[in-house]
Assembly symmetry: C2
């Protein structure tokens, strides 16, 4: 067995009542000056959640939404510093949690946030950090990653460090129920893609396989229900758990070609990350097929496929089930329908090829012509 | 889904080279006065492991072996305090790790250790804690539990707290390879029992099921290899991972009747804990059969059984595979062969019935006459 280093949140509280447990724990703690960073759409709920405090000074900051930049970080950390914050609570999707993770980690930092771009540059977190996901996709609550947009070149910069793993994750189904069905679908397919790409990956590891396959099972069984009825709290909870597992896969193994090829769709066409992944996933899987027969076969079985098939038929079944699942989630779009033309492809392919930190994980080498073909197939 | 609170080590390093990663991380840390508590049989290896330090003052204390008492704790914590220890590293089986967990947690405590017996009494850990398991059984490295013997009545007292979860777990196969085959078998079956009793449990939870079933898979596939050839490091690593998963099950769900009935065998006859579990497991499973058909069926499938069986036949297959597995691990003893006579049973049954904290988890209520019957069947 290859050596594994797995970072994970020391505490996971999952299910209806999670927030009550958080409130009780905060009241008992030494913390006195909380900074809560939240998504706009949970703003109304936050007051009732954080109103019971008498002795704790809670500063609530609602983000502007969208993917955060270095400038957003600077604005938010200044507020947190002014508040003399002693703990950060992020309540939101991946963008909000990424920002909250960085604020807690860099509260005391002297250097600009730009200087922490890369892997393992942040050595210690300044103050405690709690993450409360309100979408089920990015898995930021259980990953060591944070992504910020660099305004100088409009590119996404990754800050990766084990200290970005929160001290505790609280998954409260009630906070998940108001997510619109289209965002539920995009984000859920993003989480599914994390699991699929970590499971069929040159760095795959038995410990991560466990989370990846369970994430595939949970999302494939429950995402359709959560899309059809956002108030189905059981389905919401299972999808959230699947996304948490997907996040755990990102640190030790990470994603591969789907994510690398998806990035240019986000930066050039503002296509939501989960949707970009969903559009490309079938075509990358077909490209990989012969290089991951056993893995795709296992994915098919985890998705409820016929257990009697073997080798290539079983692997094809895996891909077919994923395709059908994406369609059933309402994702019938293609790239041209979203404004991408054939002339855009060479530039996107060149940009994708730069993301070798993910492409090197792919089970089959992706060359420039391969990237072009995959985009063409997805057009 | 029922609400879940899962505590887990924030860092797991697993595989050959884990100790090198630990050494590198210690050298980079602020820690300067380490206290290493270790099992006698790894004593020789410790010097070479902890010799590379120049700036760190390492105090190594070798335990006397056996199950630790309040007195052992007092002796060891006094040494750690005198050393002005700033971090504790436990290297050993469950007994050593339990002691190390308590030393790190109670370094600064004013009250005697007796006053922390119970669940959640320790609120904060004094200093960092690292656990390096050298047996694959108790799962102390991933559980919130520590057990000490109370010399006043010779009973086992449990101290349970989330702060007893270590900051990091390092599983180094090389340290597992010298464990004798009989202890490998007992401890491995203890770990298997943790997984089985957590999976078929009135408090079973999907998050814990994942660990429990994977633990069953890993141990059933690898324990025989580790017993046959202690130097089979791959098998050792998988069994250690199974034991780690078993430990994770103990906090949120815990064990049930097998463990409750096993305790009197330990206190009255000094039968090793894993052996006590192995001797009782088949008979408790038979007692439970009709109350856990689906669960025992799934266990059978996780152990490689015939997938086409249904309901009672599938559940029986699960029990039969467990029985056969215990035999294949060389456990052919019965209670009478270990000095237990029929006259001892009523007293043991009464003692077992006192352990309601575990019996209440059992899928079928265990009355006094039931406990007597189970012991008689195992005689």
């Amino acid at each position: 067995m290859k050596i594994l280093i797995l970072n994970q949140p020391p505490k996971l509280v999952l299910g209806a009542g999670a927030l009550e447990i958080l409130i009780t724990s905060l009241k008992k703690s030494h913390l006195r000056r909380l900074f809560v960073l939240a998504d706009p759409f949970v703003a109304a709920k936050l007051k009732s959640i954080f109103s019971p405090f008498v002795d704790i000074d809670v500063k609530i900051e609602i983000t502007t939404g969208g993917e955060p930049s270095f400038d957003d970080f600077n604005r938010v950390v200044a507020i947190a510093r002014k508040h003399k914050t002693d703990a950060v609570i992020g309540v939101g999707g991946g963008s909000v949690l990424d920002l909250a993770k960085l604020v807690a980690s860099l509260m005391d930092a002297k250097e600009p946030v730009q200087s922490f771009v890369g892997d393992g540059i942040i050595k210690e977190r300044s103050i405690p950090l709690i993450c409360i996901p309100t979408t089920s996709g990015a898995g930021s609550e259980s990953s060591p990653n944070a992504i910020l947009i660099d305004p100088t070149d409009n590119s996404k910069k990754g800050i990766i460090s084990s200290v970005l793993m929160p001290d505790a994750v609280y998954i409260e189904p009630d906070l998940l129920s108001s997510l619109p069905s289209d965002i539920t679908a995009y984000t859920g397919l993003d989480a599914l893609t994390h699991c699929i790409e970590a499971y069929a990956n040159v760095n795959a590891h038995p410990v991560v396989d466990l989370y990846a396959l369970e994430g595939i099972r949970l999302i494939s069984q429950n995402l359709g229900r959560a899309i059809a009825d956002g108030k189905d709290l059981e389905a919401r909870t299972y999808v959230a758990l699947g996304a948490y597992y997907g996040g755990l896969c990102l640190g030790p193994v990470n994603t591969a070609a789907v994510h690398a090829l998806a990035y240019p769709l986000g930066t050039n066409f503002k296509i939501p990350h989960g949707l970009s992944n969903a559009l490309l996933l079938p075509f990358v899987l077909e490209f990989n097929l012969d290089y991951a027969l056993d893995r795709y076969a296992s994915i098919g079985m985890a998705m409820g496929g016929d257990l009697s098939l073997h080798k290539k038929a079983a692997a094809k079944q895996g891909i077919d089930l994923i395709k059908k699942f994406i369609e059933n989630c309402g994702m019938t779009a293609n790239l041209s329908g979203l404004g991408v033309s054939i002339d855009d492809i060479p530039k996107m392919a060149r940009e994708a090829l730069l993301i070798q930190r993910l492409l090197k994980n792919n089970v089959r080498e992706v060359k420039l012509q391969d990237a072009i073909s995959i985009y063409q197939n997805a057009l």
